[in-house]
């Protein structure tokens, strides 16, 4: 039976799955918060703020995630910075920060597009009611934006789940890691990687359905 090997090495596979879930969930929250903040910077009326936002996006979109992860894991300590004194805590947090930074850049671009796509009339209506720039942003522009950007954000979320597998290169004992360890112990490469594939699908397919559902519900409200 495909996937049966997961029950021969439950600690590795299900432990790895759990780490992948944690890293994906936290990474997604981080990416959304960071990406939204950067998107707001990119539409700011203050030019230097826009430049910082643009620099962030360009840097993190145009360098490989693996390199960023290695920098966070093995580069920062050279500068005397570390996320945690315990090695494995440090690795996990480095991976989390890497996921948030890298995907945050993509979220920023999507949210920026959404912000710019909001009907000017709605913004004028809000401003003419006496809402401040920040209030308009929070009460009108962002809610509108998030409705528009749910589908592309869903794609980023799914990409993020898949990209967490790169965290295994810095030693995070995630799902891919589990498959590699089981493969090296048993030489049953096919089973090990098929099982990991099935478990990744078990995460990404429901995620896709949730995104579709959200999209439909929001369309009704629009």
């Amino acid at each position: 039976m495909p996937g049966a090997i997961a029950f021969e090495f439950p600690d590795l596979f299900f432990g790895g799955l759990w780490l992948t879930v944690q890293l994906s969930g936290l990474g997604l929250i981080g990416a959304l918060v960071l990406g939204t903040a950067v998107a707001l910077m990119r539409v700011s009326p203050i030019a230097p703020v826009r430049w910082v936002g643009a620099a962030y996006v360009e840097f993190f979109r145009n360098t490989p995630l693996v390199v960023q992860l290695f920098f966070l894991f093995l580069g920062l300590p050279l500068l005397g910075l570390r996320f945690a004194s315990d090695t494995f805590d440090n690795i996990f947090r480095a991976a989390f920060v890497g996921m948030a930074l890298y995907h945050g850049a993509y979220v920023a671009e999507v949210v920026r597009g959404g912000l710019l796509g909001v009907d000017r009339g709605l913004i004028e209506a809000a401003r003419s009611l006496g809402l401040s720039y920040a209030q308009t942003l929070r009460e009108v522009q962002l809610p509108q934006t998030f409705r528009a950007v749910i589908p592309p954000l869903g794609n980023i979320a799914i990409a993020l789940v898949k990209n967490t597998s790169l965290a295994s290169t810095i030693g995070v004992t995630d799902l891919l890691f589990a498959a590699e360890i089981v493969e090296s112990r048993t030489f049953r490469a096919g089973e090990a990687f098929l099982t990991a594939t099935l478990l990744y699908l078990a995460l990404t397919i429901p995620l896709g359905l949730v995104v579709n559902g959200l999209e439909r519900r929001l369309l009704v409200v629009r």
Partner: protein
Amino acid sequence: MIEFRDVHKHFGLLHVLRGITLAVREGEVLVIIGPSGSGKSTLLRTINRLEPIESGTLVVDGIAVHEINTDVNRLRKRVGMVFQSFNLFPHLTAAENVMLAPTKVHGIPTKEARERALALLAKVGIPEKADVHPARLSGGQQQRVAIARALAMEPKVMLFDEPTSALDAEMIREVLDVMRQLAKEGMTMLVVSHELGFAREASDRVVFMDEGRIIEDTPTADFFVSPKEERARQFLSKVIRH
């Protein structure tokens, strides 16, 4: 209440307001007419500084709109605006649209704000639509929610920028009824509109604009009897025949 003095504005090379001087007293209802591109909407939008002016002075309820450091939010609390395209917030219900500014800008508790919102929706004739999202409302209903939304801030002046031009005939009437009611209650109103019926019935003055200038500014009664200016006369005959 509102006083323009030699106000100018450009859009790029286009000189859209060319020396506007206009005074509106409290409780007056003005209807502004004129061909498209004559600067009517721009004139209206300078009053709450959606369009900043370049020269001249503009004072609204004692606030110097032309001064750069004027608190625009303080100004806008006193000036309600209704748009041609309604511009209701699609993610909020009718009542929430009305409640948003009072709760966020004035800090009124949600419960109280909702009561007032329901009262306003009743006033514009659609109390039963309080919990419906804009997408489920007709154009006329949406515009009435928009009027209620503006009124919720208890403005001293209401600006209407072609409030009925996106509506079918039937719906136009329900919106105009609400506006007539407001005029009767003594609201200061500036209305950009070609609804001459409304102008004749409800307005005190008619202002005719062309090419960024006020060509004619006449008490309503006189305007319809005999426009002083030839251009206004031609325009009027076109609109009426139409």
